[in-house]
């Protein structure tokens, strides 16, 4: 009896090579940094705390934005994205927001804008899989402990500090995973 395969590979499976990242920054000094919130619990507050952390080392301007927590954004929904030299996206502490978050970050990278998602540890494998399905396996993101949405200010600031310690390296093109190993 002949039977058929019910699965469908992503387009990336037949692609010859991974898509390139956007050109990286050499500093955040004087740059316009997008803070893109998916408006889930604590997302905007986390971005504000990250801004405060990064502002200790760099002078930069802010471009606020929002994105959908559950899907890839359309071109006309991006707001002032093209005004940004780089973007930070938060947050990813559930399945849909972490994987759609990295998918949206990949779209930003395709437009030439370095993008850093902040996502929590339980979703690392799902984020990795999404980067492969979107054919951009080289993209990095900031990984912090779970959760984000239910934290009080003290713990949320700790998450922000941890994220902020990773974000410049991602924007500069340093290999976080290799460094960790």
């Amino acid at each position: 009896m002949i039977v058929l395969d019910p699965t469908q590979p992503s387009d990336a499976d037949s692609a010859s090579a991974g898509l390139p990242l956007a050109p990286r920054l050499d500093t955040l000094e004087g740059k316009s940094i997008g803070l893109w919130s998916n408006q889930k619990l604590n997302a905007s507050q986390l971005l504000e705390f990250i801004r405060e952390e990064l502002a200790k080392d760099y002078n930069f301007t802010i471009v606020p934005g929002i994105y959908d927590p559950g899907r890839l954004m359309d071109e006309h929904e991006w707001g002032d994205l093209l005004d940004c030299d780089a973007v930070i996206l938060a947050n990813g502490d559930c399945g849909a927001c972490s994987t759609s978050g990295i998918a949206n970050a990949i779209e930003m990278e395709k437009k030439g804008i370095p993008a850093v998602l902040v996502s929590t540890t339980p979703f690392t494998d799902a984020v990795i899989t999404t980067t492969r399905m979107s054919n951009m396996p080289a993209i990095e993101w900031a990984i912090v402990d779970h959760p984000i949405g239910s934290l009080d200010e003290t713990h949320l600031r700790q998450r922000a500090q941890h994220a902020a310690s990773q974000i410049p390296a991602v924007m500069f093109g340093e290999d976080l995973r290799a460094a960790a190993e």
Binding site: I2, L4, D5, P9, G95
Partner: protein, 361 residues
């Protein structure tokens, strides 16, 4: 499209063991999808194997008719059911439908689809007792086909928390608990004939009565409510509104479905109420002031106004905290057995989409 891989197995049992080992099932036995059966399904929908149904943006997966037919065979569908499966998947892949949330969220969501029009009779679908299952082949297998498509074609492998891969496939369905309705969804078939004055969902949404449609939503599950002692429309609305709010899934956005028992639908039809009247009354009945929300300790859309102080203006600031974004986004569906007053309320999330079911002429 890439050529579909074929495998040679000795019999039904070996086929099932092979598909289980590959992680291509929902844990239950499947009907082996042979090329002959798949071809009959495609013919029934007037589609070619490489007919493109849509594209799953977040995972960059092109979706072709052949893959849908393979999964529909596996689910136990008959060929004539296949156009319904296709319409549901087309709706899933529309921009306005949050398929990625259903496929990936920790919220253990599942789809619900309301079937309207002549196809209900053509396929022998059940809108009487046990409509949601078990028992009716079309009701059950169409919903199961969509779940298998989510698993196989849309790459939503369940089981997060153990090994990151199941049978070599990454676990992208991050449901925390899952739920029984993920096997076959909420297959909601409207009893359009019982009360003609209560216009069917598809007619209210602009389709002709002779059109066959599906209206797709997604939901976390249903609230089961007793309404046996409410013998006037107003009393029924009052009870429902209180229990819907009391269920605690308070959202000022999205859609919802009300599965209206025949006994209860008679109350409204005999009193001259339309579905619009029911929707408006429930919408009004679930409005609460912001001050009330804070004092009573509720969350709204997962936010926590209970932690906030009541401020000037909160007493006068009312919002619809349960049900739907607007009265128009509440689907009232007469259905179920001839006796019993157990309405089901399905709180949806985000948008619903209605699609016409296309069958070859």
């Amino acid at each position: 499209m890439n050529e579909t891989l074929q495998f040679d197995v000795s019999d039904f049992d070996e086929a099932n063991e092979f598909y289980h080992a590959k992680g291509w099932t929902d844990g239950l036995p499947i009907i082996p999808p042979t090329p002959e059966k798949v071809a009959r399904f495609l013919d029934a929908a007037g589609l070619e194997a490489d007919s493109k149904i849509g594209y799953y943006n977040e995972r960059e997966i092109p979706v072709y008719a052949e893959k849908l037919a393979i999964n529909a065979v596996m689910a136990g569908c008959l060929p004539e059911y296949f156009p319904v499966v296709v319409a549901i998947v087309e709706a899933m892949l529309e921009h306005d439908f949050p398929t990625h949330v259903v496929n990936t969220s920790t919220g253990s969501f599942t789809i619900g689809f309301i079937v309207n029009g002549p196809i209900r009779h053509k396929l022998g679908m059940n809108f009487h007792g046990n409509m949601l299952g078990p028992g009716n082949r079309a009701n059950s297998s169409i919903g199961r086909a969509v779940r298998l498509i989510q698993i196989n074609t849309l790459a939503s492998i369940a089981g997060a928390g153990g090994e990151p891969h199941e049978h070599g496939r990454p676990k992208l369905d991050r449901s925390m608990m899952g739920q029984p309705a993920k096997y076959a969804g909420y297959h909601i078939i409207e009893n359009e004939e019982a009360f003609p004055s209560l216009l069917p969902v598809h007619v209210e949404r602009g389709f002709a009565p002779e059109d066959s449609t599906i209206t797709l939503m997604f939901t976390s599950g249903y609230n089961w409510i007793c309404a046996h002692s409410e013998q006037t429309p107003d009393a029924w609305i009052d009870t429902m509104a209180h229990y819907i709010v009391g269920a605690g899934n308070l959202r000022p956005s999205g859609c919802a479905a009300l599965l209206l028992p025949i006994e209860n639908a008679a109350l409204f039809a005999n009193a001259g109420w339309t579905k619009a009247d029911i929707r408006e009354a429930l919408y009004d009945g679930t409005r609460r002031s912001v001050a009330w929300l804070k004092r009573e300790g509720w969350k709204v859309s997962f936010q926590r106004p209970r932690l906030e102080e009541v401020e000037p203006g909160d007493e006068e600031n009312f919002m619809a905290v349960a049900g739907s974004a607007s009265p128009d986004e509440l689907f009232v569906v007469p259905c179920g057995g001839p006796a019993g007053s157990w309405p089901y309320y399905l709180q949806g999330m985000m948008n619903a989409v209605t699609r016409k079911i296309r069958t070859p002429s």
